[in-house]
């Protein structure tokens, strides 16, 4: 089986994408709400990803 080597960013992005899709589907009651919530969760993941990334960058000095 081939081994896949992803960067931190790629792995986090894929994790965010799949998790957002599932959370969007199971959390809301209409398709519109599901889409909006999925996009919102994905956005939150991205904000956390970049925010914590920069925090670690400055934390290392």
């Amino acid at each position: 089986m081939p081994k896949m080597t992803l960067s931190h960013f790629e792995a986090s992005l894929l994790f965010s994408l799949f998790t957002s899709i599932v959370l969007g589907i199971v959390s809301k009651r209409t398709d519109r709400e599901r889409l909006n919530y999925g996009l919102y969760v994905f956005g939150c993941f991205l904000v956390a990803l970049f925010g914590i990334g920069w925090l670690m960058h400055f934390g290392h000095g």
Binding site: M1, P2, K3, M4, T5, L6, H8, A11, L14, F15, F18, T19, I21, V22, L23, I25, V26, R29, T30
Partner: protein, 139 residues
């Protein structure tokens, strides 16, 4: 507040209504939704959970095994094992085909391990959703 109390008092739906969708949903990610004729959602759940699991395998993530020891070891290993096994047929096939990646140091392996567990946890959410649909609490 009143709506929350009303939801909390709702009786549990009969076993024969929700058992099959939840069991099929555990065995095949998204399968419960297919059984309940929610094909679009079933496809998205199946694709997302399977992709997450396969990426975990490709990154050579480790599968958890139940272990005894101190409380933290028990929590981590039993929790991880339950997360892994919640992927249903994906976990069973992987085990039957002899996948036995040892837990190794490295960011990629670590991501892989987390992807494998998260795939199972997402499948648990999908099973809960199938339960609610089968019980008539959701459309």
């Amino acid at each position: 507040m009143a709506a929350k109390e009303k939801a909390a008092k709702e009786p549990m739906p009969p076993l024969n209504v929700w058992l099959a969708p939840v069991a099929v949903g555990w065995l095949v990610p998204g399968g419960g939704h297919f059984l309940l004729k929610r094909r679009g959602r079933g496809v998205l759940l199946a694709a997302s959970i399977t992709c997450m699991f396969v990426l975990g395998l490709l990154m050579r993530g480790a599968m958890f095994k139940p272990e005894s020891g101190d409380i933290l070891t028990i929590l981590i290993n039993w929790g991880g094992f339950l997360g892994d096994i919640a992927s249903g047929i994906l976990y069973l096939l992987t085990s039957w085909l002899g996948y036995n990646q040892p837990d190794m140091a490295g960011a990629v392996h670590d991501y892989g391990t987390k992807f494998l567990v998260t795939a199972g946890l997402l499948n648990i959410l999908a099973m809960v959703d199938a339960y609610e649909i089968a019980g008539g609490r959701k459309s």
